[in-house]
Amino acid sequence: MAATLERSIGFVLALLVGGTTSFQLYKDWGSTGLDNQVTKLLLGLMAFGCILVVLAAVGVLGGG
């Protein structure tokens, strides 16, 4: 029961954070400069992390 609740919370939070991060990445896509390029790379990887959390929350990854 607790695990299901945690997975549900994780799923919702990951969608929220992943969506926000992806939108920020889209918004800043045209920005230039080393700091912005590194930030975009790191935001992209963070969005990827959110996808992993979503897949784990629904049981596709991490042994269900």
Partner: protein, 210 residues
């Protein structure tokens, strides 16, 4: 240049960013390069430990392995890790908002997002401490325990240092250390915090999903 009259657009942010003397611009670029190189060196550090973990993992027939007492070790709790990961990723998003708020001269918003980031960072550390106290393995009992505590401990230390760093930046920003044009410390702090988030992506996959 009447920078203050420009509205809060990307052009205005860029104009403010460039509205510094040449010496500051040059040292800012060099410091930025140096900081990125520092982050790359930290990536190398984590990569070494990750490869050691993968080597140990592939040197036993089954994973999770059995410990020194012959007991089969369980998998880690994915559900709890999902929530804790989202807390850390969420802190990355709030840090990004804090940086954008500062660039757009919205100090009140900056303060709110910074506090949110610091609180989320502390929450992640609390979650990590909770997991450490409940996980059924020890540092010395198995290769899994040794790898897990070493890598997540190293990451946790980075998060702890990051929280101290963010608190320092928050105080500095409110004491007038940074301006709308000169805010390299905040840029470096943002990059560091994003880096800490991204390292967790790798650790989350390696220990909980793989």
């Amino acid at each position: 240049m009447a920078v203050s009259s420009l509205n809060s657009t990307h052009e205005a942010v860029h104009a403010r960013y460039e509205a510094v003397d040449s010496l500051y611009r040059e040292t800012r670029d060099l410091r930025l390069l140096g900081f990125v190189l520092f982050l790359i060196s930290d990536v190398v550090l984590f990569t070494m430990f990750i490869f050691a973990y993968l080597y140990l993992r592939n040197s036993v027939p089954n994973w999770p392995p059995i410990n020194k007492d012959g007991v089969q070790l369980p998998r880690f709790d994915v559900a709890f890790a999902c929530v804790n990961s989202c807390i850390l990723f969420g802190s990355g998003a709030t840090m990004h908002f804090a940086m954008e708020s500062w660039k757009h001269l919205k100090k009140a918003e900056f303060n709110l997002w910074m506090i949110a980031t610091i609180v989320l960072g502390i929450m992640f550390l609390g979650g990590q401490a909770y997991e450490y106290s409940h996980v059924p393995i020890t540092w010395a009992g198995s290769t899994l325990g040794g790898s897990f505590f070493t890598l997540t401990g190293l990451h946790g230390f980075h998060v702890f240092v990051g929280v101290i760093y963010l608190i320092t930046l928050y105080i500095q920003a409110n004491n007038g250390t940074y301006t709308g044009s000169k805010y390299f410390g905040l840029t470096a702090g943002t990059l560091y915090w994003h880096f800490v988030d991204v390292i967790w992506v790798a650790l989350f996959y390696l220990f909980y999903l793989m």
